[in-house]
Symmetry: none
Subunit: 228 residues, 2 copies
C-alpha cells in the first residue's frame, strides 16, 4: 500500500485536478478523479481508494455532506482542501471525521507529507459496504436496504438505528448508547422511543416480527443485531 497507493481526487476544477494528478503521480501514486460529490461517493465505494483528497466547494453537495456520507461506512483517510480558512470550517470538518485540513493555496511538499502522515494513520481496511444478516441486506454506501431482494423504505431515524446496529453487529448496544447515538445525549431516558422504533423496524425487516431473528432484545440491557 505504501508504493502505488490509490488516491481519489475530488475537485470540480479540472485544472486543480490536473495539477494534483501530476504532482501525485510524480510521487508514485495511482490517481482517480471525481468532479462532483455524488461521483465522489460512488467512486469511493467502487474503487475503494487508500486515501481521498476532498475539496470543500463542490457544485452539487457540500464537502461536509460528502464527508459525513463517507464516514457512514468507511474510515479511509480524507484530507480536506478548502479556500476557507475560518476556525469553524476546520473544526466542523475535523469533527466530521476528516483526517487533515489544508487551506488553499498550499505547497505540494506539505500536501505530500500530510498524505504520508494520513497513510500512517490508516486502519486496516475492513469496512464492509454491504451488510447481510439472513434475508436482510444493507448497502451502506448507497443507503439501500433490501429484504429478500425487495427494496424497503426506511425513515431517516429507522435507518440511523439500523446503521448503528450494523456498525456494532454481534454486540449488545445498551438503551443509553442507542439513544445517545441516534437521538442525542439529551434523549438517554426516552426508552419509549426504542420500543416504538424497534417495533417498526422489525415490522419491515423480520419475517415474523413477534419472533425476531435479526434484531434480538436483551431485556434490561439493550438490543443486538445477529451476524450472518
Amino acid at each position: 500500500m505504501a508504493e502505488g497507493a490509490q488516491i481519489l481526487i475530488v475537485d470540480d476544477e479540472p485544472q486543480i485536478r490536473r495539477f494534483l494528478r501530476i504532482s501525485l503521480e510524480a510521487n508514485g501514486y495511482r490517481i482517480h478523479e471525481a468532479a462532483t460529490g455524488h461521483d465522489a461517493i460512488l467512486k469511493s465505494a467502487q474503487l475503494r481508494p487508500d486515501l481521498i483528497i476532498l475539496d470543500m466547494g463542490l457544485p452539487d453537495l457540500d464537502g461536509l455532506e460528502v464527508l459525513r456520507h463517507l464516514r457512514e461506512w468507511t474510515k479511509t483517510p480524507v484530507i480536506i482542501l478548502s479556500v476557507r480558512d475560518s476556525d469553524q470550517d476546520k473544526v466542523d470538518a475535523l469533527d466530521a471525521g476528516a483526517d487533515d485540513y489544508l487551506t488553499k493555496p498550499f505547497s505540494t511538499d506539505e500536501l505530500m507529507a500530510r498524505i504520508r502522515t494520513a497513510q500512517r494513520h490508516a486502519q486496516p481496511q475492513q469496512d464492509e459496504i454491504i451488510f447481510t444478516s439472513g434475508r436482510l441486506k444493507v448497502d451502506l454506501s448507497r443507503r439501500v436496504v433490501t429484504v429478500d431482494g425487495e427494496p424497503i423504505k426506511l425513515t431517516r431515524t429507522e435507518y440511523a438505528l439500523l446503521r448503528l446496529l450494523i456498525q456494532h453487529a454481534g454486540r449488545v448496544l445498551t438503551h443509553q448508547q442507542i439513544l445517545r447515538e441516534v437521538w442525542g445525549p439529551e434523549y438517554v431516558h426516552e426508552t419509549h422511543y426504542l420500543r416504538v422504533y424497534f417495533a417498526q423496524l422489525r415490522q419491515k425487516i423480520e419475517e415474523n416480527p413477534a419472533l425476531p431473528e435479526i434484531i434480538i432484545t436483551e431485556p434490561g440491557v439493550g438490543y443486538r443485531l445477529v451476524r450472518l
Copy 2:
C-alpha cells in the same frame, strides 16, 4: 481515555504553557508540563501521556530531536507547534512521525479539534476481553456468553453475577460481597437470592448442574469461579 485524557505540554515559555494549560483543562484534559527537551523525554516515559503537544523551539534539544527520540519507543500522538511556517520544517516534522503541525499563532478551537482528530487516530483496536473456563466463554466487551460455542441468554442479574465472579476468578466471594455488588448494600441479608440465582446460572452453564465444575460452592463462606 476519551474523558480526562492526559496531555503533556512541552514548551519553554511559561506563559504559553500557562495559556495551553488553561485552555485544555477547560476542555476536561489533565495536563502535565515540560520546559526542556530532556524533561519532555523523561516525563513521556514516566507519565505515559495520551498525547503530547510539542513546541519546536526548545533551549536544549531541537523539537525534531525530541520527536525522533520519542518515536523510537512510542506511537503516542504528537502535535507540533512552531513559529516557523516553512514547508521544509513541516515536512521534516511530519516525516519524523509527528501527527500534526500547527503554526503559531493558532486558534484554540482549531487546536482542540486537531487534538480530537489525533486521539481518534491513536485508538488501538479495542482489544476484546474474553474469559474462558472449561466450556464457558464470556466476551465481556460484547456481553456475549457461549457454552460449547452455543450462545446463551442471561438475564441482567445473572450476567452481573457472572461478571462479578469472573472479575474475581479463582477467589472466593462471600455472600455479603456478592449481594452488595450485584443487588446493593441493603440486600446483604437476602441470601435466598443467591440460592435461586446460582441455581439458575448453573442450569445454563454447567454440564451437570448437580455436580458443578465451573461455579463452586464454599459452604458457609460463598462461591468461587474456577480458573481455566
